[in-house]
Symmetry: C2
Subunit: 237 residues, 2 copies
DNA sequence: TCGCGTTCGTGATACCTTCTAACGAAGCGG
DNA sequence: CCGCTTCGTTAGAAGGTATCACGAACGCGA
């Protein structure tokens, strides 16, 4: 670190090579998963000998960590772009939850292994670097903003025929969240919005990860419809 | 295959060694993840030389496949045991969904890497053997039975103050499920029960996998409370 | 009880991986 | 133009999967 020198010619070349290494790495991961990623194979593809790559990445783990970082940033960028677009077209300060859900699914389908690099099987010893957890917080912040801006209603599922009432009776978990809302920072959202943000995250991840992992294969129904049904349930529609 | 000879002395010995290999394999996986599993290290732990293990498992992949098979069977057994216990204590034919949810979480927390071996990051090329997909169907069947036996109500979240009405208006996804219910087999459950079974699966997996992967770490709230809140939302309570 | 065939465990070997070390070549900056 | 830094190379250690050939152990039938 402390070497993102994009001014000097060497710095530019270095950044360029690092980028090409990561490009090949993503291809390998998409083809055979992260565990099959091989620095040697990447070097061969780039016409270099194996150890040369160690000038650019200290280890295989550092390369993977860098890919995870990029994956987080890519998702955060996607969310922020969606939020900014929605902020222009409608009144509320946050993004529309439905648009966010759609953007998330598109981003995940675009490169499933990239999704799993973030939300897939954790490596027991691995400790995420501080900046990726910060990016994760940014992602959550976009969701939280959208939930705070959304019309209040009982999150979860199609409301009763009597439409969504403004008087949402607080669940036990809402009360628990009221006492543990440090993760939301100084956000002024009510605990019901916090709850809704968590549901957005967990429910959509539930459908998406099972779909991407192929667990719905052969079941016949369309995962996209289940996904949007869950998204609308979260929005209280 | 065709060699589960538990009659002959050699067959017994063989089964015993295979079992010990798998025991060490689970320990390694719990400690460092499935990708770090090493046949050589297992052999060394057992006081044998590396290639000896190839008498018992054709390859590292076959060992992992066997572990996946055992993981599926373990989960199916856990569910079936719960269903049988509930069948004895109450009237309905299926298990109580709340009990099933509780059993699932206990099983997952008991060995998170075992959970991820089933529901974690998929390996792009991997094709699950036919018998594990059959076991997966059995698992789904237990959930489906429980959903069919559960009182009908709007699945999703705390119903409106007007309690759960028996007249559940069908969602668009319910209609879609009506046309694609082949995966439920000849089960006579209404499509709303099929929908509820899917929600049980996806929502609980959503919370559970994020918790096990550590994504809630440092957020302060209790994942168990979010989990049970989602379980009750699925049950329509 | 004695053989004989099957099975088991071994060491040697080939090939792959990550990663370190030493060396020579190239480039950039003063 | 000279010198320091950086880059890419080869060599090699350590460890992984997997195959092979060989000798020893075992069990079953005679």
């Amino acid at each position: 670190m402390s070497k993102p020198d994009t001014q000097t010619p060497r710095g530019r070349y270095r950044a360029q090579v690092r980028e090409e290494v990561k490009r090949h790495a993503w291809e390998q991961i998409a083809a055979a998963g992260a565990s099959a990623l091989s620095l040697n194979a990447i070097a061969k593809q780039m016409g270099m000998s194996g150890p040369a790559l160690y000038r650019y990445f200290a280890s295989r783990d550092e390369l993977i960590t860098e890919l995870i970082r990029d994956a987080y940033r890519s998702l955060a960028d996607t969310f922020r772009a969606r939020a900014r677009a929605d902020a222009g077209s409608k009144a509320g300060a946050g993004a529309d939850l439905g648009d966010l859900a759609h953007a998330l699914r598109g981003w995940a389908l675009d490169d499933p292994q990239r999704y799993f690099l973030i939300y897939g099987t954790p490596v027991p010893g691995y400790r995420a670097p501080e900046d990726t957890t910060r990016t994760a917080s940014e992602i959550m912040a976009v969701i939280l903003d959208a939930c705070a801006a959304a019309p209040a209603g009982s999150p979860g599922s199609p409301a009763s025929p009597a439409e969504k009432l403004p008087t949402t009776h607080p669940s036990p978990f809402d009360a628990h969240l009221d006492a543990h809302r440090a993760w939301a920072g100084p956000h002024p959202a009510p605990s019901s919005a916090l709850h809704r943000a968590l549901l957005f995250w967990t429910r959509l991840h539930g459908v998406l990860s099972l779909e991407l992992a192929g667990h719905f294969a052969g079941m016949g129904f369309d995962p996209a419809q289940l996904y949007t049904a869950e998204a609308e349930a979260v929005m209280g529609r």
